[in-house]
């Protein structure tokens, strides 16, 4: 049989337990807007009786648990790299798109006006104005090519700068994770829950930047690897992601422990940026270069076949590009033609008024380019289509991944998130329990008073 003093201590113990419940509710409400916070739940258990014919010794707090959804967190960490990649690609590509300009006011109109200038020249092959017009349109076309090439190069540089910035962010987060790992190892259980919340936030931020492999440590920390299993964080140690300039292009290559791992990184923001920088933009530049090279070569070949105003055989109209690579950024009208319009070879025979060559050059716009199977305009249209569809695909895929991530976040929130209604109910529940326990306490106290009164008599 328990004595009254024992009951009194049981009542105070129970009051403390309900108080803990109230505290947990307060903590949950306080952290309703804290990123990564997982809802805390106090687990109670009845204290077993210590003697026969006793209902028990009240209530014990077994644990204050954080309602973690480890599986969903892991799934989120797998989805977020794809979301980050598509977001970065959509962002970069929408910038690349604008470099192409609108239909009818970019390289396409430059091409049309260039060929139209030759058509004008065909009407009046001896006209100085028409010759000047051809030179001017050739220069305009060349400078449009130069500009678009420069804008594409700058989009590539932008992506490179962002890659470097992302590497800094990744290293910052890695350092944070390492120090959290160290702290989790040394902390008690309650404190470690908060640290684990922060670890979750850091891992989630990291997974948006780069695809990571996470191996949980027994004490609640996490080891992180990138690429094909290169360590980023092991326990309290960070293996920083490095940057080295690639030979030739000078763009940033990612290194881990001295090895270049750029090609292994495909996910996360950095993966998207690398894809834009190393794969997509170079491809667009190559297509643009091919177009510039094709035009310069086709026009030059036709131009050399004709005769200028003085009856001499024609030279090159554009400065001939040696290679397709870099042709767009280097395209210029040859210095000789620029200086002297009479060197434009409009004639097919050595006669000033002949226009056969001007007509032949005009008709180049309807024939396949040198080294290709499509006309100049079709080649440009194909590039516009390619960039547009890449950008559209990235945006669509980003939308898809956004939805998946949102769905997973909702599922995780159903387990880990704080619901105000629930907390209000808990508040009421613990408040009422506290009141009831206080009443029990006062009942025991009254009983004790009665007992004490007996002793006094």
């Amino acid at each position: 049989m328990s004595d009254l003093m024992g009951s009194l201590s049981m009542a105070s113990h129970s009051l403390a337990a309900q108080q803990a419940g109230l505290d947990a509710t307060g903590q949950n409400i306080a952290n309703i807007n804290t990123p990564g916070y997982t809802r805390r739940v106090v687990e109670f258990a009845a204290t077993p009786p210590t003697e026969q014919f006793s209902a028990g010794r009240g209530v014990d707090i077994v644990a204050i648990r954080a309602m973690r959804a480890d599986l969903l967190e892991a799934q989120l960490r797998q989805e977020q790299p794809a979301q980050g990649r598509d977001a970065a690609m959509a962002e970069s590509l929408s910038q690349v798109e604008t470099t192409l300009g609108h239909a009818g006011s970019s390289i396409d109109s430059g091409l049309t006006q260039f060929f139209n200038a030759f058509s004008q020249l065909a009407q009046d092959p001896t006209s100085g104005v028409a010759r000047q017009q051809v030179t001017a349109q050739g220069e305009a076309l060349a400078s449009t090519f130069n500009e678009v090439a420069a804008r594409l190069a700058s989009a590539q540089r932008d992506a490179d700068l962002q890659v470097k910035a992302s590497v800094d962010q990744i290293n910052g987060l890695a350092a944070q994770i390492a120090s959290l790992n160290a702290a989790i190892g040394g902390a008690g259980q309650s404190a470690s829950e908060d640290l684990r919340d922060r670890l979750g936030v850091a891992l989630s931020a990291l997974s948006q930047l780069i695809d990571i492999g996470v191996v949980p440590r027994p004490n609640g920390g996490a080891n992180v690897s990138i690429g094909n299993g290169h360590a980023l964080v092991i326990g309290a140690t960070t293996y920083q992601l490095g940057v080295t300039a690639r030979a030739g292009s000078g763009v940033a290559d990612l290194t881990s422990g001295g090895a270049v791992i750029t090609s292994e990184v495909t996910g996360g923001r950095i993966g998207g940026l690398l894809r834009v920088r190393d794969l997509l933009v170079p491809d667009y530049v190559a297509q643009l270069d091919q177009l510039a090279y094709g035009i310069a070569t086709s026009v030059n070949t036709a131009h050399r076949a004709g005769y200028d105003l003085n009856g001499s055989a024609g030279g090159d109209f554009f400065t001939p590009p040696a290679l397709a690579t870099g042709a767009a950024s280097a395209l210029t009208v040859s210095a000789a033609v620029r200086a002297n319009g009479s060197l434009i070879a409009a004639a097919g025979v050595p006669a000033a008024g002949d226009n056969q060559n001007a007509r032949a050059i005009t008709n180049l716009q309807r024939t396949a380019l040198a080294g290709g199977t499509t006309t100049p305009i079709e080649t440009w249209g194909a590039l516009v289509y390619r960039v547009g569809s890449d950008s559209q695909r990235a945006t669509n895929e980003k939308g898809g991944h956004d939805d998946i991530v949102k769905q997973l976040q909702s599922l995780r929130d159903q387990i880990s998130g704080v619901s105000l209604d629930e907390e209000a109910a808990n508040l009421m529940r613990f408040q009422r329990a506290y009141e009831a326990n206080a009443r029990y306490f006062s009942a025991i106290q009254t009983s004790l008073d009665v007992l004490m009164a007996m002793v006094a008599v």
Binding site: A122, D124, G353, Q392, E422, A424
Partner: protein, 297 residues
């Protein structure tokens, strides 16, 4: 299902964002009038627009060529009319010098008349359009015939017919071989014929005058034939211009249906998007405005 605080805010935030994006896109379509504002709006359409604009550019170039060809042919046509008139006048003058009743002074007058006709014919053959000779073949900067001390040179141009493109596979001739009109397959050109006729008229040589009149007949035939060709070209040019403008209309219509918005549906879309956005905003305002907390005492 537990509905958590964070989740409801996250959902409403992303839904509002999406509604705002849709509204912005709809507004951009209405304000710009374009369905495609960047290639990713419709990659295939954007690529079609590129070829469409180029096609219009090429058609406009053909139209310009047709216009300038018309001006040039107008010059050629009026020169040929003049040439025909002059040849007819020469025939009259030469015929009038024939016959035994003519006095020497009358024959001299006829000869002088023929000489004058020869001089003005030279001007006609040396006609220029924007500084290039029309009857000199491809030697646009060389006068077809020059006169030195009353003697007209031989043909200085060439036989190349200069043409321009008025469409794929359609051409029009813009510079003519002067010799084919002035001489053709005859042994002497019209200037020599006129000079001989003047001599014959002066001396009353009716045999030579008869031969000269025959040669003038041939010249008249050649000039008339050339003018008929020019006339045909005029007719063809009108036809070409009509076709070009129909073609341009077609391409423009296709381009417009690709590039431009259907205003009625764009405006409907915009008001739909606006309603959606308003609803999302209203929902945002109401979220979390009540909970069980309100009922705690």
């Amino acid at each position: 299902m537990r509905i958590t605080f964070d989740q409801s805010f996250r959902n409403i935030e992303s839904d509002t964002n999406r509604a705002a994006e849709q509204l912005a896109a709809a507004q951009r379509q209405v304000s710009s009038g374009h369905r495609i504002n960047k290639p990713s709006d419709d990659p295939a359409g954007a690529s079609f627009a590129v070829t469409g604009h180029a096609a219009i550019g090429a058609l406009d170039a053909y139209t310009k060529t047709a216009d300038s060809t018309t001006s040039r042919l107008t010059v050629a046509d009026s020169m040929l009319s003049d040439i025909i008139n002059k040849i007819t006048a020469a025939q009259t003058a030469a015929a009038s010098a024939r016959g035994s009743a003519m006095t020497q002074s009358q024959r001299d007058a006829a000869a002088a008349n023929l000489q004058g006709i020869s001089d003005s014919l030279l001007d006609d053959f040396n006609a220029q359009f924007h500084g290039s000779y029309v009857f000199s073949g491809s030697k646009a900067t060389t006068a077809p015939y020059t006169s030195t001390g009353g003697t007209v040179s031989s043909y200085q141009g060439d036989a190349t017919a200069v043409s321009v493109d008025l469409g794929q596979g359609r051409t029009a001739q813009i510079a003519f071989d002067g010799q084919s009109i002035a001489q053709g397959s005859d042994p002497a050109d019209i200037f020599t014929v006129l000079s001989n006729l003047a001599t014959a008229a002066r001396s009353g040589d009716s045999v030579a005058t008869g031969q000269g009149l025959d040669a003038l007949d041939h010249a008249l035939d050649r000039a008339t034939l050339a003018q008929t060709h020019v006339g045909n070209s005029f007719a063809a040019l009108d036809d070409v211009r009509a076709r070009l403008s129909t073609e341009r209309l077609n391409v423009t219509a296709q381009l417009s249906s690709t590039e431009d918005v259907n205003m009625a549906s764009a405006i409907t879309n915009m008001s739909q998007a606006e309603t959606g956005y308003r609803a999302a905003l209203a929902a945002f305002g109401r979220i979390g405005s009540f909970s069980l907390m309100d009922y705690l005492k």
